[in-house]
């Protein structure tokens, strides 16, 4: 294992300390490992919190700040955080208007957030939850844990964070978050595996001429292994199931998000985006907004994911609203 770390057990804590050192104007870290917006709690504003395993940076800590998250709960690498963290986060950001938990659909995340919500409600804080489950690579059926929460989470956090910032109440931001979830679909692929620091070796072996299609964000094997193909063919293999699923139809206005998995350079993401733009145009979709870069990653995995969100006027307006976080910043 070759990594820029001091000790596997210290990675999360030292990275959080680094974030505070770099972005102390935007955020602080409170016990037990919760990233909190510097000016939280804001009276009368709905608190927006999310969380999940570490290793997906900048998600979620990098999205704490004005116009996005009020707090983020980072667990160990690829491991859901514990309820104590979400409870502390909920208490730290509650300004009397309630708190929304944005939860990615993984068995552990769901259970730990549920426990935290029960504990917070017992202390008199209004808590609502929305589960993001946008990965079309997983069949949504009684026979799976349901679709994973992946790239759609980033878009939900931005749009919903903006709504809370402009003063929408808990019921409104919850409904909006659900609307984003209902209108967003994603799919990802991997060229290489990744190495969990504490495990010390790659999660899976993969040949030089192979790729994993339908991967999540935890180095877990994908739906199937295929022979490596060119970027255009890969893009089509990811985008077609997304567009067919919702389904997106001619005339729809969308946000197209091409995301790097952590080990893929921006130049390759633009190669992918070029094909995404062509394919969307061929289907009669208007890409009204886009996001290109590594925002929800899987450590050093090479690969990408594509997320398409069907926009409406309110979502577009909230996407454009000012945001000031370590990872996303405009208009502020």
């Amino acid at each position: 294992m070759k990594k820029l770390i001091n000790a596997p057990d210290a990675v999360v804590d030292e990275a959080l300390a680094g974030m505070v050192a770099a972005h102390g104007d935007l955020l602080r870290v409170i016990e037990p490992n919760v990233v909190v917006r510097a000016d939280a709690p804001r009276q009368g504003k709905v608190g927006i919190i999310s969380g999940g395993g570490s290793g997906h940076e900048p998600m979620h800590g990098g999205f704490v700040g004005m116009g996005m998250l009020d707090a983020a709960c980072p667990g160990a690498v690829f491991t859901s955080p514990v309820p104590d963290q979400m409870l502390a986060a909920t208490k730290a950001v509650d300004g009397g208007a309630g708190v929304l938990h944005i939860v990615k659909n993984y068995t552990g995340d769901i259970m730990n957030f549920e426990l935290a919500a029960e504990l917070a409600q017992a202390e008199g804080i209004k808590v609502a939850s929305v589960v993001i489950a946008d990965d079309v690579a997983v069949q949504d059926s009684l026979y799976t844990a349901g679709r994973r929460g992946v790239g759609g989470t980033v878009l939900a956090e931005k749009v919903v964070g903006a709504a809370a910032e402009e003063g929408q109440d808990l019921a409104a931001v919850t409904a909006l978050c659900q609307r984003v979830q209902d209108n967003v679909r994603s799919m990802g692929m991997a060229l290489t595996s990744c190495t969990v620091p504490a495990a010390g070796k790659p999660t899976f072996e993969i040949g030089d001429d192979e790729m994993e299609v339908g991967v999540g964000i935890h180095g877990e094997p994908g739906r199937e292994r295929r022979k490596l193909a060119g970027a255009d063919e890969i893009t089509e293999a990811l985008l077609t199931p997304i567009l067919d699923d919702l389904p997106f139809s001619s005339g729809d206005r969308v946000l197209a998000f091409v995301n790097g998995m952590g080990g893929t350079p921006l130049i390759e993401l633009y190669v992918v985006y070029n094909k995404v733009a062509q394919l969307c145009a061929a289907r009669g979709l208007t890409i009204e907004r886009n996001l290109i870069g590594s925002y929800i990653t899987s450590l050093e995995m090479a690969g990408c994911s594509i997320t398409i969100l069907k926009l409406d006027d309110e979502m577009t307006r909230l996407w454009d609203a000012p945001v000031n976080t370590p990872a996303l910043r405009w208009g502020a």
Binding site: G108, Q139, L142, A198, G216, H218, G219, E220, R223
Partner: protein, 210 residues
């Protein structure tokens, strides 16, 4: 042994914590194949925290001990295993109440309550390819053999857990991260059912070693 007391509980927790530590890489390896490569790491973190608390526990109160273990696991393990194993021990705590020692029947009642807690929290059923597939046969076997005493019942439970663990290896998973893999999960041993089997083997050996 006719009763399961605080000393046996402590022996069990030490044995289980040691074995999880020894087999941490094996559990993580199993999880790499069909999950996210953290089961051994997370369980070891949680039970190391439990081990660190053992000396401070009141060994005359089974319920208080089980509650402390459950709360520690929920606060330190994370993932799905934290709430599931944590809930298991919290339900044991409720079933034990403030008793100092449980007879064969009492331990069986507690194990059944623990199983019910895990099923409620995780919503998994038999054949979903989870820890429940080791837990259900273990508790069933325990109850069937409880008339022969604690040692015999735990012997039966440990054997049944291992049989359950191996029985589901060919299956496709329907809960947890392994369910994302579809047919690719078939043929892989389940990490959760493996750690649950280690739990019952530790319980058996801690009681036999008294």
């Amino acid at each position: 042994m006719s009763e399961f007391d605080g000393a046996a509980f402590v022996r069990f927790l030490r044995t289980f914590a040691d074995r999880i530590h020894e087999r941490r890489d094996e559990l993580t390896q199993l999880d790499s194949a069909i999950g996210d490569a953290d089961h051994g790491i997370n369980m070891d973190r949680g039970f190391s925290a439990v081990r660190a608390k053992l000396d401070g526990l009141d060994a005359t109160d089974l319920g208080a001990m089980a509650k402390a273990v459950g709360m520690t696991l929920i606060s330190t393990v994370g993932g799905a295993s934290g709430p599931l194993y944590g809930t298991f021990f919290l339900r044991l705590a409720t079933a034990f109440g403030d008793t100092q020692a449980a007879d064969a029947q009492g331990l069986g009642t507690a194990l059944r309550a623990g199983l019910e807690g895990v099923v409620q929290r995780g919503k998994a059923a038999l054949d979903d390819k989870t820890m429940v597939d080791a837990l259900v046969p273990a508790v069933d076997a325990y109850e069937a053999a409880a008339g022969d005493g604690i040692s015999a019942a735990l012997e039966a439970a440990a054997t049944a857990a291992a049989v359950g663990r191996d029985r589901i290896t060919p299956l496709v998973a329907r809960k947890g991260r392994a369910s994302y893999l579809g047919e690719r999960a078939a043929g892989h041993q389940d990490p959760g059912a493996t750690s649950t089997t280690i739990l019952f083997e530790s319980l058996r050996d801690a009681v036999a070693g008294s």
